[in-house]
């Protein structure tokens, strides 16, 4: 192992529409090493690897490969320099064969045509190298299981003979056996003097595989250290350590009310695995955990969107999950959901503010079969006043509002239905601090009016500041419930990473 790092970044910064994703980052990794990159959601890990892999160009700073300054304007340039990335989202063409996919970027040619036989042999060799001989190079990718596809993705990357291999959560969909194979492969690559960057939320994977760890927080590179020099607790503390920049309304004295929304052992298509929780009237229960641990699916299941949900749901006296959002919002359940993506799921953007506000409550402003214009404008005005939505005219398209005001429209739409159960899927994502505070206050008001609130947030500070209790999801089930003083960042992150795991895990 030489002392010269293979890859070196100096002073890299990247901003997206005013928000900083990376700020003045220095980073280096060596050949013959497996280097873990750790950090919370939004810490800048993904931006970092996208810059290294040529997907994004940095706003400022320089990148060096083996001492030579380089600048990648697209992934193909990065590939030809030996930098290959396996992204979280698969990048395979489902209707092509495995062999086609593996040599998609640079197929072997013969007289200017693709040499199918050479391509087949190459695919066979690469698949053998990652011990996936059971995958037929002539099979169509769409016929493979998710785990097999991910292995093909890895084969595709290995087939490019990388000098630096980046794995972004590349093991998340793999079976235990394949995970072991990938570990073996990474060990082999380390022997072959290849540098690997390994991004994972699974601490035990990192512990087992990596020799060097780097922690990112808020777009900054906090520290790089060798494995074994810090405990788990110290690593978690490095990942948090963030300035608290929000003020939350005071919480009332904790008194457990009778559960209003209860669910037991909810399971759905491998994304939910026996989640159980109860939320009382007047209570705000936070839902935490890393991205994609089933929080979204849980809310959709409770709102009647998902088919084939197993387990029991009880709202008040009513047993059974609703079969559609239309059933969920009506008596006797009166559930509402503020969805994750307000632009595609929450709003009809080209339609007017007034039409959007009314979309869930036509029956409330109708007299007989007809909508009453007087009732309609009354309801719209009341909703706008209640949430202090800043707008020109209620007839303007909702797309003309700022993000924060758009989110207020989504919330106001549901408050018009007078819901008993409010499901909030990350309602403060991408909105300004002022509006966030208004939403926190509103949530507390709604709880005080006796509504049951389930609040998913990717921001730990919100969970701590707003919630009476916090439930942490990991791999489709609720692994921890925190209450009172136990709601703190260390506990939340610890539970999110399932450090005290006793439940089932992909790798142990």
């Amino acid at each position: 192992m030489s002392d010269q790092p293979f890859l070196q970044l100096t002073g890299i910064s990247k901003h997206f529409a005013g928000a900083r994703a990376l700020e003045n980052v220095d980073f280096a990794c060596k050949r013959g090493s497996i280097h873990a990159v750790l950090g919370e959601n939004g810490a800048g890990k993904s931006t970092l690897i996208k810059i290294i892999a040529g997907v994004l160009e940095p706003d400022s700073g320089a990148m060096f490969l083996e001492g030579q300054q380089v600048r990648f304007s697209n992934p193909a340039e990065a590939n030809s320099a030996g930098v290959v990335c396996i992204f979280q989202e698969l990048s395979l063409v489902p209707d092509l064969t495995v062999a086609d996919n593996i040599s998609l970027a640079a197929p072997p040619l013969k007289f200017g045509m693709i040499d199918r036989r050479a391509q087949y042999r190459f695919a066979e060799a690469v698949l053998a190298r990652i011990k996936c001989e059971d995958v037929d190079p002539n099979a169509l990718v769409k016929d493979l299981s998710l785990s097999r596809r991910q292995m093909v993705e890895i084969a595709k990357a290995v087939g490019k003979s990388p000098k630096l291999l980046i794995l972004d959560e590349a093991t998340s969909a793999l079976t235990r056996k394949d995970v072991e194979t990938v570990y073996g492969l990474l060990e082999d690559l380390r022997q072959d003097n290849v540098a690997s960057l390994f991004i994972s939320h699974r601490m035990n994977e990192v512990e087992r595989l990596c020799d060097t760890l780097s922690v990112f927080r808020n777009g900054r590179h906090v520290e790089t250290f060798t494995k074994g020099t810090k405990t788990d607790r110290e690593i978690v503390r490095l990942m948090i350590g963030r300035e608290v920049d929000a003020h939350f309304p005071p919480k009332p004295q904790a008194e457990r009310t009778a559960p209003h929304l209860q669910f037991n052992d909810l399971s759905w298509e491998g994304r939910l695995k026996g989640a159980s929780l109860s939320v009382g009237k007047g209570e705000i229960v936070g839902l935490g955990g890393l991205d994609g641990q089933g929080q979204k699916e849980l809310m959709l299941a409770l709102f009647g969107v998902l088919r084939g949900v197993e387990g029991t749901v009880k709202v008040g006296e009513k047993t059974g999950a609703p079969l559609s959002p239309a059933a969920a919002k009506r008596e006797p359940r009166r559930i509402c959901l503020v969805p994750e993506d307000r632009k595609t799921e929450g709003l009809m953007l080209p339609m007017s503010i007034s039409d959007n506000l009314l979309a869930a409550s036509y029956s409330r402003v109708s007299v007989g079969p007809f909508i009453d214009p007087a009732l309609e404008s009354e309801a719209v005005d009341a909703a706008i006043a209640k949430l202090q939505i800043k707008l020109g005219s209620p007839q303007d398209a909702v797309a003309t509002l700022s993000g924060g005001n758009q989110q207020k429209v989504v919330i106001a739409k549901w408050l018009m239905t007078d819901p008993d159960v409010i499901l909030l899927n990350d309602p403060t994502r991408g909105i300004d601090v002022g509006t966030k505070q208004e939403i926190y206050r509103l949530m507390r008001e709604l709880a005080d009016e006796g509504r049951a609130i389930l609040f998913y947030s990717t921001d730990y500070a919100e969970l701590i500041g707003c919630c009476d209790r916090v439930a942490i999801m990991y791999d489709g089930s609720i692994v921890a419930e925190l209450a009172g003083a136990a709601i703190n960042e260390e506990a939340i992150i610890g539970a999110s990473l399932n450090l005290h795991a006793s439940g089932p895990e992909a790798v142990s």
């Binding site: 239309a326 959901l337 709003l347 080209p350």
Partner: protein, 320 residues
């Protein structure tokens, strides 16, 4: 048109452009007739009423088509829904003629709606298939010959008679229009059509029963096509093979020229009215000018494409 001028919004632009184009057609046609015959028949009430009577059939079809296009779908089964309703109505005859025709429209609409909303088959394919099935059934029913059944007196009255000097068909068109306007602007169903057409996911997550909405719109389209078929049979005293073929493309064109977004979610009924008027007048003026059929087709198509080029772009960019 007054109300459209008062509050000018982006979706009013197509209405104004087409209304302006109607004036251009009338003026150009009048210049031609003044030059060749020295008269100006195009502005006489009789001529205009006659055009509106012809337009009533297309207008009723287009009203139903608009409901479906507002959802971002399309109903290609109109030609043979119309024909089937006319044939069934005349075959049954008597007092049951009208209910039978309407029932055919409802049935076809239900099939279309269920196929699109529940079986999730793209409407372009599904309704095309249904159209073909209806044609097959009608050929079977008639043995491939022109049916001999006569339209009932009521059908003849609705389509061909006059009331206070105005063709009754225009009253029928007006009644259908009032129903559609009320439906679209003043009922939960109409509002749900716009919401679903704009963003089906958001509408569904707002608790709108989007599948019922889709089925409802196809039923409305089927009923409108059936109504037009009954009228057309009354107008020509009997039903005949292929009587609906001339209505599909003009109906879609009228809706789209009137400013309804072909991808759904936006559009005003007044636009469809103007679009129908434009197409009817364009056809009529071209035939007055004794334009050969080939030239008429070219001009007709070019106008539709040209109108869409004028405002099709900025209505698309609104999708944001």
């Amino acid at each position: 048109m007054q109300s459209a001028l008062l509050h000018l919004r982006s979706e009013d632009k197509p209405v104004l452009v087409s209304a302006g184009f109607i004036v251009v057609i009338l003026v150009l046609g009048t210049i031609y007739t003044l030059y060749t015959q020295g008269t100006a028949p195009l502005f006489s009430p009789n001529y205009l009423l006659q055009q509106l009577q012809t337009g009533a059939f297309l207008g009723i079809v287009a009203a139903g088509m608009m409901m479906v296009i507002l959802l971002g779908h399309i109903d290609l089964s109109i030609p043979w829904t119309l024909t089937a309703a006319a044939m069934m109505a005349t075959a049954v005859g008597g007092d049951l003629a009208l209910p039978t025709g309407i029932a055919v429209g409802i049935a076809v609409g239900l099939v279309n709606g269920i196929g699109v909303a529940y079986l999730r088959i793209p409407s372009m394919i599904f309704t095309l298939g249904v159209d073909s099935v209806m044609r097959g059934l009608m050929v079977w029913h008639t043995g491939g010959f022109a049916p001999q059944d006569q339209a009932t007196p009521l059908m003849r009255f609705l389509a061909a008679e006059k009331l206070f000097g105005v063709p009754v068909a225009i009253f029928v068109w007006a009644a259908v229009s009032v129903v559609i306007v009320l439906l679209l602007s003043r009922t939960a169903f109409g509002r749900s059509i716009y919401a679903t057409g704009n963003r089906e996911a958001a509408a569904y997550l707002s608790g709108i029963r989007t599948r019922w909405v889709i089925v409802g719109a196809f039923v409305a389209s089927g009923v409108c096509a059936a109504t037009a078929g009954i009228l057309l049979a009354g107008y020509s005293t009997k039903a005949y093979q292929g009587m609906g073929n001339a209505y599909l493309l003009p109906a879609i064109a009228a809706v789209v020229i009137g400013g309804t977004r072909i991808l759904g979610g936006q559009g005003r009924y007044i636009g469809t009215l103007v679009g129908v008027t434009l197409i009817v007048l364009l056809n009529s003026v071209l035939s007055i000018m004794q334009m050969p059929e080939a030239g008429r087709q070219v001009i007709y198509g070019s106008v539709i494409v040209g109108m869409l080029l004028v405002y099709g772009r900025d209505t698309r960019s609104l999708s944001g």
